[in-house]
Amino acid sequence: MSAPLLEVDNLSKHFGSGSAPVRAVDGVSFSIAKGETLGLVGESGCGKTSLVRTLLRLNAATAGHAMLDGVDIAQAKGAELRAMRRKMQVVFQDPYQSLNPRMRVDRLLSEPWALHPGVLPRAQWSTQIARLLEAVGLRPEHALRYPNEFSGGQRQRLGIARALALNPSLLVCDEPVSALDVSVQAQVINLLARLRKERNLAMLFVAHDLAVVRHVSDRVMVMYLGRIIETGPTEEIFSAPRHPYTQALLSAVPTPDPTLRGKRRRIVLQGDLPSPSNPPSGCRFRTRCWKATDKCAVEAPELVAHGNTNLLTACHYAETVPDLA
């Protein structure tokens, strides 16, 4: 097997210093192969965005490495950095915030080329802009509008078009559809899926909507309080999760089928997510876990395979709950 496109090793990101830093990301390791889509789910505040921003070098990592195509993201300089920037692009959550409201679409889309002279001669910009717009399902004449003249879904398409301008090999999507309307969400998801196929894009797909993640990803990673607690192939995670948190998470998602009402086994977790600046000792989930024992308070579980499965689970008492789905 060839080397993975992105390899993350024990990456941490802590905010603030002093006695109780916010441990937004705490020793996370994973990798993404070329053309693969990795879904990342977790509740609000568990560190998804922090992880993404660290990968994009918008935050400096506190510890650990992330290598993109063999280049350490944090260390890259000069030409290496520029090459890295071209390879990895991002689509942000909020389509209203991620486009500069004072830039016309043609300038928005050509900004990457202006920043990477030599990628595309200026003469070809306008044709390329038209092509990009078409690729994301917009029309060439949209190039002369301002972002506020677009709907949310259209804006998200603009964001995607812009991310594609440099023809990256890895697209990092931080909740690209969660700000969109249900009917528009489907359009964007389909668009991403199509582009991924056409361009052999690898994706890190962050979302908290499990249904969306299930639909999009090849592999899924579940995060809780800055740690990865379970990871594995999408189908396996959704059909037979082993971590209690994943189980609870899946069961909490309401099924759009009124006939199933009251028939599913639902696990309603008690309490809120603990503060990431003062995470529980041992297993971080233990404060809301119905299986927690004294051991969980002392010993942090490793992310390992439990039994005959492709899943890696960080739980001392990992087991499947067969009748979940």
């Binding site: 994009l56 692009q89 915030q97 991620s98 830039m103 900004e111 920043l115 002369l144 812009r162």
Partner: protein, 302 residues
């Protein structure tokens, strides 16, 4: 592409139309614009020599206003040296507004730049900028004015520089605060991901967002500087004869309040109306730039 680019002027025209409509929706702003246009006409008339005939004529000293049998230049009276008060007001308008605009422009440009740097980079340079601006803020403007005028001689240029320096901290603060906020916005992050450096980001992403706020602040400041200049001139620390500003006219006219009220009254009124106009326009501008307030400017048609 031609048929697409053809729409650009049309968009511009519609923007002008929208502004005109928004202006029509705010009678106060409309009045302000009319008043400022009037002042502009007066200034132009003066520069083209309409008042050049108004020399010192001690015989016409303190000629009262509203005597329409006189030359039109004397319709609002003559000053203590018999010069046309209207002409003096025109000349003073150029100084007063000129000083205010230049001051504001200078402090706007410098303050915004420093604020952007302080806000975007932070760190020791940022704190240094902020501390210096704190210290400047701590000074009585009078002292700074005096030092500047003493060191460099009393001239309009020096007054502008001095006032600009004392006004700068407010721009620095606002620009910094805005920058701090804007630099956390997602589109700035996006630009960084594309490889945009600080200069690029400040120029293309932060400045355009910060600019309207700064312009609003500037138009409020035009008003403030005008008041300030008149105060300084009143104390004898601002514009000095033979130059003339509205503030100086008030100062000189105050001696005549009981005998020739028009000498101090009209320049006072001019300061007030002009200041008010700039304040009102600032308000209007703020609303125009805030989509959630737009409806205020559009009359409800039923």
């Amino acid at each position: 592409m031609t048929e697409i680019s053809g729409t650009a002027p049309a968009r511009k025209a519609s923007r002008v139309k929208w502004f005109a409509r928004a202006l029509a929706g705010d009678p106060m702003a409309l009045c302000s614009v009319i008043w400022l246009a009037l002042v502009l006409v007066l200034i132009l008339a003066d520069t083209f020599g309409a008042f050049s005939g108004s020399r010192i004529a001690l015989k016409a000293r303190n000629l009262p206003p509203f005597d329409f049998t006189q030359d039109w230049r004397l319709w609002i009276g003559a000053d203590s040296l018999g010069r046309s008060l209207l002409g003096r007001l025109a000349e003073a308008a150029l100084t007063s507004i000129g000083i205010a605009l230049l001051t504001v422009l200078l402090s706007l440009v410098m303050g915004t730049m420093l604020g952007l740097v302080a806000g975007y980079f932070g760190g020791p340079v940022g704190s240094l900028i902020m501390r210096i601006s704190d210290v400047v803020m701590g000074f009585p403007t009078l002292l700074v004015a005096l030092v500047g005028l003493y060191l460099f001689g009393p001239s309009v240029t020096n007054l502008v520089i001095v006032l600009a320096i004392t006004r700068m901290p407010s721009y620095i603060r606002v620009a910094r605060a805005e920058t701090l906020e804007v630099r956390e916005r997602l589109f700035v992050d996006a630009a960084r991901v594309f490889g945009g450096g600080p200069i690029w980001i400040i120029r293309h992403h932060i400045l355009p967002i910060v600019a309207p706020t700064m312009l609003t602040l500037a138009s409020v400041n035009v008003a403030m500087v005008m008041l300030f200049e008149s105060g300084l001139s009143y104390l004898g620390l601002g514009v000095q004869p033979p130059a003339v500003s509205w503030g100086l006219m008030i100062a000189q006219g105050q001696g005549y309040l009981s005998s020739a009220w028009w000498l101090g009254f009209f320049p006072g009124l001019a300061v007030m109306l002009t200041t008010m106009s700039f304040n009102l326009l600032a308000n209007w501008f703020r609303i125009v730039n805030d989509p959630s307030q737009h409806w205020r400017l559009i009359r409800r048609k039923r």
